[in-house]
């Protein structure tokens, strides 16, 4: 029993739950949702997803090939596979396998 680990998990869970529930305390039917908030939240999804992509790529640096080649190649494979087949699982698996091959066999 790793007490520290359990505490970290508990903290992460509680903060996440709080974040997820807060909007529902203030918004929803019966409460007036400002029009701008509705319109804004229609624009948000692709913007947030773009942000998350950058978040995942944030550790990339160009000072050594190992720090950017595997990531960018695998990202290209992921997007390319998806444009080709539009199958989520294939795109994720393909990109991940390529990445693992690159970082385990070539850019060790």
């Amino acid at each position: 029993m790793d007490k520290h680990a359990i505490l970290i998990i508990a903290v992460a869970a509680l903060v996440t739950i709080a974040i997820r529930f807060i909007p529902f305390l203030f918004l929803g039917k019966g409460k007036k949702t400002p029009a701008f908030l509705t319109e804004l939240s229609a624009l948000l999804p692709p913007a947030v997803m773009g942000m998350l992509v950058i978040y995942c790529l944030k550790g990339t640096s160009f000072n050594a090939p190992a720090n950017w080649v595997p990531v960018l190649v695998s990202a290209a494979v992921t997007v390319g596979l998806h444009l080709w087949r539009r199958k989520t699982l294939l795109s994720i698996l393909g990109g991940t396998i390529v990445y693992m091959l690159l970082v385990n066999l070539i850019f060790v």
């Binding site: 790793d2 520290h4 680990a5 505490l7 970290i8 998990i9 903290v11 992460a12 903060v15 996440t16 739950i17 974040i19 997820r20 529930f21 807060i22 909007p23 529902f24 918004l27 929803g28 039917k29 949702t33 701008f36 908030l37 509705t38 319109e39 804004l40 939240s41 624009l43 948000l44 999804p45 692709p46 913007a47 947030v48 997803m49 773009g50 942000m51 998350l52 992509v53 950058i54 978040y55 995942c56 944030k58 595997p70 990531v71 695998s74 990202a75 992921t78 997007v79 998806h82 444009l83 539009r86 989520t88 699982l89 795109s91 994720i92 698996l93 990109g95 991940t96 990445y99 693992m100």
Partner: protein
């Protein structure tokens, strides 16, 4: 949804490789239920981070869930007894499914939420067991998260004619990244994105109403 099976397995494997087994995978995937945050949490656990650090990091990494809630507040408002679970289960993947289909109703929300959660937990447990059986650190398996976000993003861009929000999201994030650095750019990025989209919306409203 099946992407969660693969990603969950990736998480289970990574967690196992750091010495934390099935019960931890089960607990994290049941109660935190946030892919990227769970990966980050592995680092927090192995790095001996303080609880304050854990709380602030969770806030930053998961702040986007505020936006999901804002987005779905109306459509989730009359879901009755299952509403707390639906809110709890509003993850990236579930959100990307429910937000794009205007025709979804309560039973659909529940089905998607439950299945995503199930796939995630199952994947985590399976990955944890696999990781325990195979003496290899599966280096690079956490790329699955990057791949997931890239895939969802690509799908969004393909399904729309309005490219500006996507462009704004990427541009604002890169700018924030360059200014604030990898560790601190998320909150500035979210602020910049929100402001930019508000301005965009304002300009479009003016254009519409003449």
């Amino acid at each position: 949804m099946a992407g969660y099976l693969a990603l969950g397995a990736g998480f289970g494997i990574v967690l196992q490789s750091k010495g934390y087994g099935v019960l931890y995978a089960l607990a994290m995937s049941l109660f935190i239920y946030a892919g990227s945050m769970q990966f980050v949490a592995v680092n927090l656990i192995t790095g001996g981070a303080s609880l304050i650090t854990a709380a602030l990091t969770t806030l930053m990494v998961n702040a986007r869930h505020l936006l999901y809630g804002i987005s779905m507040a109306n459509r989730y408002s009359e879901t009755g007894k299952v509403k707390p679970y639906l809110i709890f289960a509003l993850t990236d993947e579930t959100y990307s499914i429910v937000v794009s289909d205007e025709k979804m109703e309560r039973k659909d929300f529940l089905t998607v939420s439950l299945l995503d959660h199930l796939y995630w937990v199952a994947g985590s447990v399976i990955g944890s067991l696999i990781g325990g059986l195979i003496p290899w650190d599966f280096k690079g398996v956490d790329f699955a998260l990057t791949a997931l976000f890239l895939t969802v993003f690509t799908e969004q861009v393909l399904n729309t004619k309005d490219y500006l929000p996507a462009v704004i999201g990427v541009a604002a994030s890169v700018i924030s990244l360059l200014i604030f650095g990898a560790d601190d750019f998320l909150i500035p990025a979210m602020i910049l994105i929100s402001l930019s989209l508000m301005v965009l919306n304002l300009l479009r409203r003016r254009a519409r109403h003449g």
